[in-house]
Subunit: 415 residues, 2 copies
Amino acid sequence: MEATEHLRLAALAARDAGHQLARGSEAARNAALAAMAHALRDGMREILAANALDVAAYHGSAAFLDRLTLTEARVEAMARGLEEVAALPDPLQRTLADWTRPNGLRIQRIATPIGVIGMIYESRPNVGADASALCLKSGNAVILRGGSDSAHSAKAINVALQRGLAASGLPPACIQVAPNADRAYVAAMLAGAGLLDLIIPRGGKSLVERVQRDARVPVLAHAEGLNHTYVHEAADPAMARRIVANAKMRRTGVCGATETLLIDRAVAPSLLPVLVADLRALGCDFRADAAARDIVPDLHAAAAADFDTEWLDSILSVAVVDGVDAALAHIAAHGSEHTDAIVTEDAAVAEHFLRGVDSAVALWNASTQFCDGGEFGFGAEIGIATGRIHARGPVGLEQLTTYRYLVLGTGQIRP
Amino acid sequence: MEATEHLRLAALAARDAGHQLARGSEAARNAALAAMAHALRDGMREILAANALDVAAYHGSAAFLDRLTLTEARVEAMARGLEEVAALPDPLQRTLADWTRPNGLRIQRIATPIGVIGMIYESRPNVGADASALCLKSGNAVILRGGSDSAHSAKAINVALQRGLAASGLPPACIQVAPNADRAYVAAMLAGAGLLDLIIPRGGKSLVERVQRDARVPVLAHAEGLNHTYVHEAADPAMARRIVANAKMRRTGVCGATETLLIDRAVAPSLLPVLVADLRALGCDFRADAAARDIVPDLHAAAAADFDTEWLDSILSVAVVDGVDAALAHIAAHGSEHTDAIVTEDAAVAEHFLRGVDSAVALWNASTQFCDGGEFGFGAEIGIATGRIHARGPVGLEQLTTYRYLVLGTGQIRP
């Protein structure tokens, strides 16, 4: 079937299924998640066999091959992930506001599902299972289009999840996958105004940019994290060393990793050499401005574009700045409004910095790597939103809901 | 200057101005609104003279001519509107959530401006002043592109508002208007990804649809309100008469007006004739299904498309239904998820209806015309959002904000 027509039918089925899901109870959603976990374990053999086909066909990097490969332990972890989502608080049972007007009308703003979500991803097969769980728990139907490299795995996982849904009495159309991984299906999803209510892209920069450029549907994008850690002159040196090393090197490929170190001129002569030594011991390389290289001469010189580069690697851009306002100006010019941190013992300067950056997540005396749904206490996340509306930062269950109003009257009419 | 280049420069200036605005105090924003009101009164003569040019050039409907025409009283009302917005609570001083993690990290979700908003509208000149006030109060910069019919008026109003901004010490670039009303500027705005953070279209269906179809920027659309009032068999007849008459006929051109009456078969024989008589006395015409015409034979027959038509006029579609689930099915098939009401004395049925519709605003025993920011207590509104994300229903100051996180640590690093 042609992609556009397939998507249309899938979305209509998803819409119906989503209504049923949204009107059902929390118990029904949690029972479905339990049944889905059970079905994943039950379908272990089929899932691993399908994954073996993907693995056999793959001829790329070893790093991706590792992410692509499923094992019993990884499928078991997926199943446990579903059970963990079931145990989270219900995002739909929230009254966000409740007030009564002078005319006696009572107005309640209540949480409600977004509707039908399209998820476009390129990464590991478990992303599909995780996203399915979060969407189901939040009352949304989801249509998943994974990468072509993991197409067999994605289908086998979906078959198991749909079996779980059916066993629990919820419509399998709540969670669907694209019939194949051709590019036409992505195009159909991006053109799916009225069919999909939201598209969440997860993957590399070019995928996210394409989705943002071409989508006719609202997008909750997970784009670049060009994050800064700013070491202020009043930083505790030991704390600064701990935080900078962690923020850059704990994991370099996550979107919360620090990409640029800004350090005050007043403390750079004493502190920068030890920060560099710490990071070098962890395997980090540098792209430094002239002032930093005056202090540590063997740093690589930064090209202008380096301060606009999200390395996602063991490379750190380094610039010396003259105080908090210069740091803010650098971040405003080069940052991506994702995650930025200050290290200082001066509360007034910290306050000025926190007010002055407009990042989704602004930290004081903590590692930028805390930008994460789990670390925020959300239990699980579907991504980190980098847009300005609806949700910013980690996207958990609450961010997968929207709201509506109930207005309770006693016969009021408008004058 | 070419539209694209003009927009780029305007948006960059707006971005800087918006940052200054957002970092300034509530007092500074309120003082600016007061100064803007003062400047409107001061510029009365210039504004009326500019408006006279628009009026002289206009050759359309008398209704639009009335909306286009400014008077001293209308300019004064605009000025008072700015003062009323100044008096509203500050939407930026809100901590939306505040919690502490087991590792001691304190996380605060705080309200913050969206950024640079593009407003595209076709209606009355005062819309520009109202939107300017709401954006300024919420810390957003705005670029306004009004209709060509009111271009002179819009510019004169903007000149006054910018004078007020300058007098209060805030950058005039917070509030800008398109240099002319050509269509290229709208196209430039729609293509303004990275320059504008949000576009709010207000106007007819074709404008809103064009913006939704072509925008590369998130859109907070104000689209169709195909609203239903459902009279359940357990409705209080007197209340039903009062509500239906008000919901349809108080003002027929507002998006909260009822377009379709659904009435239970059990009470239609007794109640429909009086509802029709009430509405006829107010000048209403009907498009009724066969069952309704069996009861009131001289109603016009409804064509299939009539139940999908937003009349915005003194016309009411009428259908007889068999109970609340049939009403819900009709609304799901024909509604626009805007505003729907039930009239009933049966609380269990009302609850079932309120849970079963997915409208932005669902009412029980009240007129659909209450779907309005003022009636909700928001003080003022920039429109009624009909999308699924960020905001639904009346868009007031709070809905013109987004959020970000502050994370306050004591040296935490991520394990």
